[in-house]
Symmetry: C2
Subunit: 226 residues, 2 copies
Protein backbone atom coordinates (compact mmCIF):
# COMPACT_ATOMS: atom_id res chain seq x y z
CA UNK A 1 0.00 0.00 0.00
CA UNK A 2 1.37 3.39 -0.97
CA UNK A 3 1.57 5.91 1.84
CA UNK A 4 -0.26 8.71 0.06
CA UNK A 5 0.25 11.14 2.90
CA UNK A 6 3.83 11.35 1.68
CA UNK A 7 3.09 11.89 -1.99
CA UNK A 8 2.69 15.64 -1.70
CA UNK A 9 4.15 18.39 0.38
CA UNK A 10 1.47 20.97 1.07
CA UNK A 11 2.49 24.55 1.65
CA UNK A 12 0.75 27.11 3.80
CA UNK A 13 -0.60 28.92 0.72
CA UNK A 14 -4.26 29.94 0.67
CA UNK A 15 -6.55 30.21 -2.34
CA UNK A 16 -8.93 33.03 -1.40
CA UNK A 17 -12.35 33.38 -3.04
CA UNK A 18 -12.02 37.07 -3.76
CA UNK A 19 -14.82 39.32 -4.99
CA UNK A 20 -13.14 42.65 -4.30
CA UNK A 21 -15.87 43.47 -1.80
CA UNK A 22 -15.52 44.57 1.82
CA UNK A 23 -15.45 41.09 3.33
CA UNK A 24 -13.00 39.32 1.05
CA UNK A 25 -10.69 42.37 0.85
CA UNK A 26 -10.48 42.47 4.63
CA UNK A 27 -9.90 38.71 4.64
CA UNK A 28 -7.07 39.08 2.13
CA UNK A 29 -5.26 41.50 4.43
CA UNK A 30 -6.16 39.39 7.48
CA UNK A 31 -4.56 36.28 5.94
CA UNK A 32 -1.49 38.17 4.80
CA UNK A 33 -0.99 39.56 8.29
CA UNK A 34 -0.93 35.93 9.46
CA UNK A 35 2.02 35.39 7.13
CA UNK A 36 0.16 33.29 4.58
CA UNK A 37 0.83 33.35 0.85
CA UNK A 38 -2.49 34.35 -0.73
CA UNK A 39 -3.63 33.35 -4.24
CA UNK A 40 -6.70 35.48 -5.00
CA UNK A 41 -9.37 33.92 -7.21
CA UNK A 42 -12.30 35.90 -8.61
CA UNK A 43 -15.24 34.47 -10.52
CA UNK A 44 -16.71 35.82 -13.70
CA UNK A 45 -20.21 34.39 -13.67
CA UNK A 46 -21.51 37.07 -16.02
CA UNK A 47 -22.44 39.43 -13.20
CA UNK A 48 -23.90 42.71 -14.43
CA UNK A 49 -21.69 44.45 -11.87
CA UNK A 50 -18.62 43.79 -14.09
CA UNK A 51 -16.80 46.51 -12.23
CA UNK A 52 -16.17 44.17 -9.31
CA UNK A 53 -13.70 42.16 -11.43
CA UNK A 54 -11.63 45.25 -12.25
CA UNK A 55 -11.78 46.33 -8.62
CA UNK A 56 -10.63 42.87 -7.49
CA UNK A 57 -7.67 42.99 -9.89
CA UNK A 58 -6.69 46.44 -8.67
CA UNK A 59 -6.83 45.51 -4.99
CA UNK A 60 -4.89 42.28 -5.54
CA UNK A 61 -2.22 44.19 -7.45
CA UNK A 62 -2.02 46.80 -4.69
CA UNK A 63 -1.65 44.00 -2.13
CA UNK A 64 0.96 42.31 -4.32
CA UNK A 65 -0.82 38.96 -4.49
CA UNK A 66 -1.37 36.76 -7.53
CA UNK A 67 -4.87 37.16 -8.94
CA UNK A 68 -6.76 35.02 -11.45
CA UNK A 69 -10.31 35.11 -12.75
CA UNK A 70 -12.19 31.84 -13.28
CA UNK A 71 -14.56 32.27 -16.20
CA UNK A 72 -17.84 30.61 -15.25
CA UNK A 73 -20.01 32.35 -17.84
CA UNK A 74 -20.72 29.28 -19.92
CA UNK A 75 -21.80 27.44 -16.77
CA UNK A 76 -23.98 30.35 -15.67
CA UNK A 77 -25.73 30.35 -19.02
CA UNK A 78 -26.31 26.60 -18.70
CA UNK A 79 -27.83 27.08 -15.25
CA UNK A 80 -30.11 29.92 -16.31
CA UNK A 81 -30.37 33.55 -15.33
CA UNK A 82 -30.83 35.30 -12.05
CA UNK A 83 -31.09 39.03 -11.41
CA UNK A 84 -27.32 39.12 -10.85
CA UNK A 85 -26.59 38.08 -14.41
CA UNK A 86 -29.74 38.67 -16.43
CA UNK A 87 -30.46 42.35 -17.11
CA UNK A 88 -34.10 41.51 -17.85
CA UNK A 89 -34.65 40.38 -14.25
CA UNK A 90 -35.06 43.49 -12.05
CA UNK A 91 -32.71 43.81 -9.07
CA UNK A 92 -34.39 44.01 -5.68
CA UNK A 93 -33.97 47.34 -3.87
CA UNK A 94 -33.74 48.11 -0.16
CA UNK A 95 -33.47 45.54 2.59
CA UNK A 96 -33.42 41.97 1.43
CA UNK A 97 -36.63 40.05 1.75
CA UNK A 98 -37.18 36.34 1.25
CA UNK A 99 -38.43 36.80 -2.30
CA UNK A 100 -35.97 39.48 -3.38
CA UNK A 101 -33.01 37.42 -2.19
CA UNK A 102 -34.16 34.32 -3.99
CA UNK A 103 -33.97 36.34 -7.19
CA UNK A 104 -30.22 36.88 -6.71
CA UNK A 105 -29.37 33.19 -6.48
CA UNK A 106 -27.28 31.44 -9.16
CA UNK A 107 -28.03 27.74 -8.60
CA UNK A 108 -25.25 26.08 -6.62
CA UNK A 109 -22.89 29.00 -7.10
CA UNK A 110 -21.06 28.49 -3.80
CA UNK A 111 -20.33 24.81 -4.46
CA UNK A 112 -19.11 25.55 -7.98
CA UNK A 113 -16.83 28.37 -6.79
CA UNK A 114 -15.44 26.30 -3.91
CA UNK A 115 -14.86 23.33 -6.25
CA UNK A 116 -12.86 25.50 -8.67
CA UNK A 117 -10.96 27.16 -5.81
CA UNK A 118 -10.10 23.73 -4.39
CA UNK A 119 -8.94 22.64 -7.85
CA UNK A 120 -6.60 25.62 -8.02
CA UNK A 121 -5.35 24.88 -4.49
CA UNK A 122 -4.58 21.29 -5.54
CA UNK A 123 -2.88 22.43 -8.76
CA UNK A 124 -0.76 24.97 -6.89
CA UNK A 125 -0.20 22.77 -3.85
CA UNK A 126 -1.76 25.34 -1.54
CA UNK A 127 -2.92 23.91 1.77
CA UNK A 128 -6.09 25.99 2.16
CA UNK A 129 -9.16 27.45 0.52
CA UNK A 130 -10.66 30.46 2.31
CA UNK A 131 -13.80 32.51 1.89
CA UNK A 132 -15.37 35.33 3.83
CA UNK A 133 -18.47 33.65 5.24
CA UNK A 134 -19.79 35.77 8.13
CA UNK A 135 -22.76 36.01 10.45
CA UNK A 136 -24.66 38.26 8.05
CA UNK A 137 -24.87 35.51 5.43
CA UNK A 138 -28.52 34.97 4.94
CA UNK A 139 -30.47 31.89 5.82
CA UNK A 140 -32.37 32.30 2.57
CA UNK A 141 -29.33 30.88 0.79
CA UNK A 142 -29.23 27.14 1.49
CA UNK A 143 -25.53 27.03 0.62
CA UNK A 144 -24.73 29.57 3.35
CA UNK A 145 -25.72 27.04 6.02
CA UNK A 146 -23.14 25.72 8.49
CA UNK A 147 -24.01 22.12 7.53
CA UNK A 148 -23.32 22.88 3.90
CA UNK A 149 -19.94 24.45 4.68
CA UNK A 150 -19.00 21.49 6.88
CA UNK A 151 -19.87 18.95 4.18
CA UNK A 152 -17.95 20.94 1.56
CA UNK A 153 -14.96 21.21 3.89
CA UNK A 154 -15.04 17.43 4.29
CA UNK A 155 -15.33 16.83 0.53
CA UNK A 156 -12.50 19.29 -0.23
CA UNK A 157 -10.24 17.62 2.33
CA UNK A 158 -10.82 14.29 0.53
CA UNK A 159 -10.53 15.57 -3.04
CA UNK A 160 -6.76 15.11 -3.15
CA UNK A 161 -4.16 13.06 -1.30
CA UNK A 162 -2.77 16.20 0.18
CA UNK A 163 -5.55 17.39 2.42
CA UNK A 164 -6.77 20.91 1.50
CA UNK A 165 -8.54 22.61 4.40
CA UNK A 166 -11.47 24.99 4.09
CA UNK A 167 -11.01 28.16 6.17
CA UNK A 168 -13.78 30.57 7.14
CA UNK A 169 -12.01 32.93 9.54
CA UNK A 170 -14.90 35.41 9.77
CA UNK A 171 -17.60 32.92 10.74
CA UNK A 172 -19.43 34.47 13.69
CA UNK A 173 -18.23 37.99 12.80
CA UNK A 174 -20.77 40.64 11.78
CA UNK A 175 -20.06 43.10 8.99
CA UNK A 176 -19.33 45.95 11.41
CA UNK A 177 -16.55 43.88 12.97
CA UNK A 178 -15.18 43.10 9.52
CA UNK A 179 -15.18 46.83 8.65
CA UNK A 180 -13.32 47.65 11.88
CA UNK A 181 -10.81 44.85 11.19
CA UNK A 182 -10.29 46.06 7.63
CA UNK A 183 -9.71 49.62 8.82
CA UNK A 184 -7.24 48.40 11.48
CA UNK A 185 -5.32 46.49 8.78
CA UNK A 186 -5.31 49.57 6.52
CA UNK A 187 -7.04 47.48 3.85
CA UNK A 188 -8.06 49.68 0.88
CA UNK A 189 -11.76 49.62 1.72
CA UNK A 190 -12.22 52.82 -0.30
CA UNK A 191 -11.58 50.74 -3.44
CA UNK A 192 -13.92 47.86 -2.56
CA UNK A 193 -17.08 47.33 -4.51
CA UNK A 194 -20.34 46.00 -3.14
CA UNK A 195 -23.08 47.22 -5.46
CA UNK A 196 -24.97 44.72 -7.61
CA UNK A 197 -25.91 47.43 -10.14
CA UNK A 198 -23.53 48.05 -13.01
CA UNK A 199 -22.92 51.77 -12.33
CA UNK A 200 -19.82 53.87 -11.72
CA UNK A 201 -20.61 54.63 -8.06
CA UNK A 202 -22.49 52.62 -5.42
CA UNK A 203 -26.22 52.89 -6.12
CA UNK A 204 -27.03 53.02 -2.41
CA UNK A 205 -30.32 51.21 -2.96
CA UNK A 206 -29.63 47.54 -3.73
CA UNK A 207 -29.41 44.95 -0.96
CA UNK A 208 -25.63 44.90 -0.65
CA UNK A 209 -25.38 48.72 -0.71
CA UNK A 210 -27.88 48.94 2.14
CA UNK A 211 -25.92 46.35 4.12
CA UNK A 212 -22.62 48.07 3.42
CA UNK A 213 -23.91 51.41 4.65
CA UNK A 214 -25.26 49.82 7.81
CA UNK A 215 -21.95 48.02 8.49
CA UNK A 216 -19.99 51.29 8.38
CA UNK A 217 -22.63 53.01 10.53
CA UNK A 218 -22.46 50.25 13.16
CA UNK A 219 -18.65 50.29 13.06
CA UNK A 220 -18.82 54.04 13.74
CA UNK A 221 -16.69 54.74 10.66
CA UNK A 222 -17.31 56.66 7.45
CA UNK A 223 -17.52 54.66 4.20
CA UNK A 224 -14.48 55.87 2.26
CA UNK A 225 -15.95 54.82 -1.11
CA UNK A 226 -18.25 56.86 -3.32
Amino acid sequence: MIDFSRVSDPTAGVVLCFSGGLDSTTLLYHLREQGREVLALSFDYGQRHRRELAVAARIASLAGVEHRVADLRSITSLLGGSSLTDPTVPLPHGHYTHESMKATVVPNRNMIMLAVAAGWAIARRAGFVAYAAHSGDHAIYPDCREEFARAMGEAISLADWHCVKLLRPFVGWDKARIVRRGMALAAPLHLTWSCYEGGEVHCGRCGTCVERREAFRLAGLPDPSE
Copy 2:
Protein backbone atom coordinates in the same frame (compact mmCIF):
# COMPACT_ATOMS: atom_id res chain seq x y z
CA MET B 1 -39.75 30.51 10.48
CA ILE B 2 -40.45 29.56 6.89
CA ASP B 3 -40.89 25.86 6.23
CA PHE B 4 -38.39 25.58 3.40
CA SER B 5 -39.18 21.93 2.82
CA ARG B 6 -42.38 23.17 1.19
CA VAL B 7 -40.82 25.80 -1.05
CA SER B 8 -40.06 23.44 -3.90
CA ASP B 9 -41.58 20.36 -5.41
CA PRO B 10 -38.82 18.04 -6.58
CA THR B 11 -39.50 15.72 -9.45
CA ALA B 12 -38.00 12.31 -10.06
CA GLY B 13 -35.77 13.70 -12.83
CA VAL B 14 -32.09 12.71 -12.87
CA VAL B 15 -29.16 14.77 -14.12
CA LEU B 16 -26.73 12.14 -15.41
CA CYS B 17 -23.02 12.88 -15.78
CA PHE B 18 -22.70 11.48 -19.26
CA SER B 19 -19.45 10.91 -21.13
CA GLY B 20 -20.82 8.71 -23.90
CA GLY B 21 -18.64 5.84 -22.66
CA LEU B 22 -19.67 2.30 -21.76
CA ASP B 23 -20.51 2.97 -18.14
CA SER B 24 -22.57 6.15 -18.42
CA THR B 25 -24.38 4.91 -21.55
CA THR B 26 -25.44 1.76 -19.73
CA LEU B 27 -26.47 3.91 -16.75
CA LEU B 28 -28.58 6.12 -19.01
CA TYR B 29 -30.56 3.10 -20.22
CA HIS B 30 -30.65 1.63 -16.70
CA LEU B 31 -32.22 4.83 -15.29
CA ARG B 32 -34.68 5.10 -18.14
CA GLU B 33 -35.78 1.53 -17.58
CA GLN B 34 -36.56 2.56 -14.01
CA GLY B 35 -38.93 5.14 -15.43
CA ARG B 36 -36.82 8.18 -14.60
CA GLU B 37 -36.62 11.30 -16.73
CA VAL B 38 -32.94 11.65 -17.63
CA LEU B 39 -31.16 14.94 -18.35
CA ALA B 40 -27.76 14.04 -19.80
CA LEU B 41 -24.87 16.39 -19.06
CA SER B 42 -21.48 16.11 -20.74
CA PHE B 43 -18.39 18.10 -19.89
CA ASP B 44 -16.07 19.79 -22.31
CA TYR B 45 -12.86 20.11 -20.33
CA GLY B 46 -10.73 20.41 -23.45
CA GLN B 47 -10.20 16.64 -23.74
CA ARG B 48 -8.12 15.68 -26.74
CA HIS B 49 -10.62 12.89 -27.35
CA ARG B 50 -13.16 15.47 -28.64
CA ARG B 51 -15.00 12.67 -30.36
CA GLU B 52 -16.55 11.64 -27.06
CA LEU B 53 -18.70 14.80 -27.06
CA ALA B 54 -20.12 14.02 -30.49
CA VAL B 55 -20.69 10.40 -29.47
CA ALA B 56 -22.48 11.54 -26.29
CA ALA B 57 -24.78 13.81 -28.31
CA ARG B 58 -25.59 11.02 -30.76
CA ILE B 59 -26.40 8.47 -28.04
CA ALA B 60 -28.55 10.96 -26.10
CA SER B 61 -30.45 11.81 -29.27
CA LEU B 62 -30.95 8.11 -30.03
CA ALA B 63 -32.24 7.59 -26.50
CA GLY B 64 -34.47 10.65 -26.82
CA VAL B 65 -33.13 12.42 -23.75
CA GLU B 66 -32.18 16.07 -23.38
CA HIS B 67 -28.42 16.58 -23.63
CA ARG B 68 -26.28 19.59 -22.74
CA VAL B 69 -22.54 20.20 -22.68
CA ALA B 70 -21.02 22.21 -19.83
CA ASP B 71 -18.01 24.08 -21.17
CA LEU B 72 -15.27 23.82 -18.55
CA ARG B 73 -12.37 24.71 -20.85
CA SER B 74 -11.58 28.03 -19.22
CA ILE B 75 -11.49 26.31 -15.83
CA THR B 76 -9.26 23.53 -17.16
CA SER B 77 -6.80 26.08 -18.49
CA LEU B 78 -6.79 27.82 -15.10
CA LEU B 79 -6.05 24.52 -13.37
CA GLY B 80 -3.25 23.53 -15.75
CA GLY B 81 -2.81 20.69 -18.18
CA SER B 82 -2.87 16.95 -17.82
CA SER B 83 -2.31 14.34 -20.49
CA LEU B 84 -6.08 14.28 -21.11
CA THR B 85 -6.09 17.88 -22.27
CA ASP B 86 -2.52 18.81 -23.12
CA PRO B 87 -1.22 17.22 -26.35
CA THR B 88 2.36 17.87 -25.23
CA VAL B 89 1.95 15.45 -22.31
CA PRO B 90 2.22 11.87 -23.65
CA LEU B 91 -0.68 9.54 -22.87
CA PRO B 92 0.19 6.41 -20.90
CA HIS B 93 -0.21 3.11 -22.79
CA GLY B 94 -1.18 -0.33 -21.55
CA HIS B 95 -2.37 -1.12 -18.05
CA TYR B 96 -2.59 1.82 -15.75
CA THR B 97 0.20 2.24 -13.25
CA HIS B 98 0.38 4.61 -10.33
CA GLU B 99 2.48 7.13 -12.26
CA SER B 100 0.68 6.85 -15.59
CA MET B 101 -2.72 7.37 -13.95
CA LYS B 102 -1.58 10.43 -12.08
CA ALA B 103 -0.79 11.97 -15.45
CA THR B 104 -4.46 11.75 -16.49
CA VAL B 105 -5.80 13.72 -13.51
CA VAL B 106 -7.42 17.14 -13.95
CA PRO B 107 -7.28 18.62 -10.44
CA ASN B 108 -10.64 18.27 -8.67
CA ARG B 109 -12.46 17.34 -11.87
CA ASN B 110 -15.04 15.14 -10.15
CA MET B 111 -16.05 17.80 -7.63
CA ILE B 112 -16.33 20.45 -10.33
CA MET B 113 -18.45 18.18 -12.57
CA LEU B 114 -20.70 17.13 -9.69
CA ALA B 115 -21.11 20.77 -8.58
CA VAL B 116 -22.21 21.82 -12.07
CA ALA B 117 -24.49 18.77 -12.39
CA ALA B 118 -26.08 19.60 -9.03
CA GLY B 119 -26.54 23.21 -10.19
CA TRP B 120 -28.39 21.99 -13.25
CA ALA B 121 -30.50 19.64 -11.11
CA ILE B 122 -31.44 22.58 -8.87
CA ALA B 123 -32.21 24.81 -11.86
CA ARG B 124 -34.36 22.13 -13.48
CA ARG B 125 -35.87 20.89 -10.21
CA ALA B 126 -34.57 17.38 -10.77
CA GLY B 127 -34.38 15.30 -7.63
CA PHE B 128 -31.16 13.43 -8.42
CA VAL B 129 -27.64 13.60 -9.77
CA ALA B 130 -26.21 10.29 -10.98
CA TYR B 131 -22.84 9.11 -12.18
CA ALA B 132 -21.41 5.77 -13.15
CA ALA B 133 -18.94 5.15 -10.33
CA HIS B 134 -18.07 1.43 -10.27
CA SER B 135 -15.69 -0.98 -8.59
CA GLY B 136 -13.03 -0.48 -11.27
CA ASP B 137 -12.58 3.17 -10.29
CA HIS B 138 -9.02 3.40 -9.25
CA ALA B 139 -7.73 4.14 -5.81
CA ILE B 140 -5.09 6.34 -7.38
CA TYR B 141 -7.77 8.99 -7.85
CA PRO B 142 -8.50 10.49 -4.43
CA ASP B 143 -11.88 11.74 -5.63
CA CYS B 144 -12.97 8.18 -6.51
CA ARG B 145 -12.94 7.24 -2.82
CA GLU B 146 -16.15 6.26 -1.04
CA GLU B 147 -15.55 8.93 1.63
CA PHE B 148 -15.29 11.60 -1.04
CA ALA B 149 -18.54 10.49 -2.69
CA ARG B 150 -20.31 10.43 0.67
CA ALA B 151 -19.17 13.95 1.56
CA MET B 152 -20.18 15.25 -1.88
CA GLY B 153 -23.57 13.56 -1.55
CA GLU B 154 -24.06 15.30 1.78
CA ALA B 155 -23.00 18.71 0.39
CA ILE B 156 -25.24 18.32 -2.68
CA SER B 157 -28.22 17.40 -0.49
CA LEU B 158 -27.67 20.65 1.45
CA ALA B 159 -26.98 22.94 -1.52
CA ASP B 160 -30.64 23.75 -2.04
CA TRP B 161 -33.83 23.68 0.03
CA HIS B 162 -35.12 20.88 -2.12
CA CYS B 163 -32.79 18.04 -1.32
CA VAL B 164 -30.98 16.71 -4.41
CA LYS B 165 -29.71 13.16 -3.91
CA LEU B 166 -26.52 11.74 -5.37
CA LEU B 167 -27.04 8.33 -7.01
CA ARG B 168 -24.29 5.84 -7.87
CA PRO B 169 -26.26 2.79 -8.99
CA PHE B 170 -23.21 0.87 -10.24
CA VAL B 171 -21.14 1.11 -7.06
CA GLY B 172 -19.83 -2.38 -6.42
CA TRP B 173 -20.34 -3.46 -10.05
CA ASP B 174 -17.35 -4.38 -12.16
CA LYS B 175 -17.09 -3.38 -15.82
CA ALA B 176 -17.99 -6.85 -17.07
CA ARG B 177 -21.30 -6.66 -15.17
CA ILE B 178 -21.92 -3.20 -16.65
CA VAL B 179 -21.27 -4.55 -20.16
CA ARG B 180 -23.72 -7.42 -19.58
CA ARG B 181 -26.32 -5.00 -18.22
CA GLY B 182 -25.85 -2.67 -21.18
CA MET B 183 -26.25 -5.55 -23.62
CA ALA B 184 -29.38 -6.75 -21.79
CA LEU B 185 -30.87 -3.25 -22.05
CA ALA B 186 -29.97 -3.08 -25.75
CA ALA B 187 -27.96 0.06 -25.04
CA PRO B 188 -26.04 1.18 -28.15
CA LEU B 189 -22.66 0.05 -26.84
CA HIS B 190 -21.36 -0.10 -30.41
CA LEU B 191 -21.53 3.72 -30.45
CA THR B 192 -19.82 4.30 -27.11
CA TRP B 193 -16.38 5.79 -26.96
CA SER B 194 -13.70 5.00 -24.42
CA CYS B 195 -10.37 5.89 -26.01
CA TYR B 196 -8.36 8.81 -24.65
CA GLU B 197 -6.56 9.29 -27.95
CA GLY B 198 -8.14 11.58 -30.51
CA GLY B 199 -8.41 9.04 -33.34
CA GLU B 200 -11.29 7.76 -35.47
CA VAL B 201 -11.30 4.24 -34.01
CA HIS B 202 -10.32 2.92 -30.58
CA CYS B 203 -6.50 2.90 -30.33
CA GLY B 204 -6.56 -0.33 -28.32
CA ARG B 205 -3.47 0.68 -26.37
CA CYS B 206 -4.39 3.45 -23.89
CA GLY B 207 -5.55 2.60 -20.37
CA THR B 208 -9.29 2.87 -21.05
CA CYS B 209 -9.05 0.85 -24.28
CA VAL B 210 -7.28 -1.94 -22.39
CA GLU B 211 -9.93 -1.89 -19.69
CA ARG B 212 -12.75 -1.85 -22.22
CA ARG B 213 -11.38 -4.88 -24.05
CA GLU B 214 -11.00 -6.76 -20.80
CA ALA B 215 -14.55 -5.92 -19.71
CA PHE B 216 -16.03 -7.39 -22.90
CA ARG B 217 -13.78 -10.45 -22.62
CA LEU B 218 -14.87 -11.06 -19.01
CA ALA B 219 -18.51 -10.52 -19.95
CA GLY B 220 -18.04 -13.16 -22.65
CA LEU B 221 -19.34 -10.75 -25.28
CA PRO B 222 -17.78 -9.24 -28.40
CA ASP B 223 -17.05 -5.48 -28.38
CA PRO B 224 -19.42 -4.18 -31.07
CA SER B 225 -17.33 -1.02 -31.63
CA GLU B 226 -14.34 -0.65 -33.94
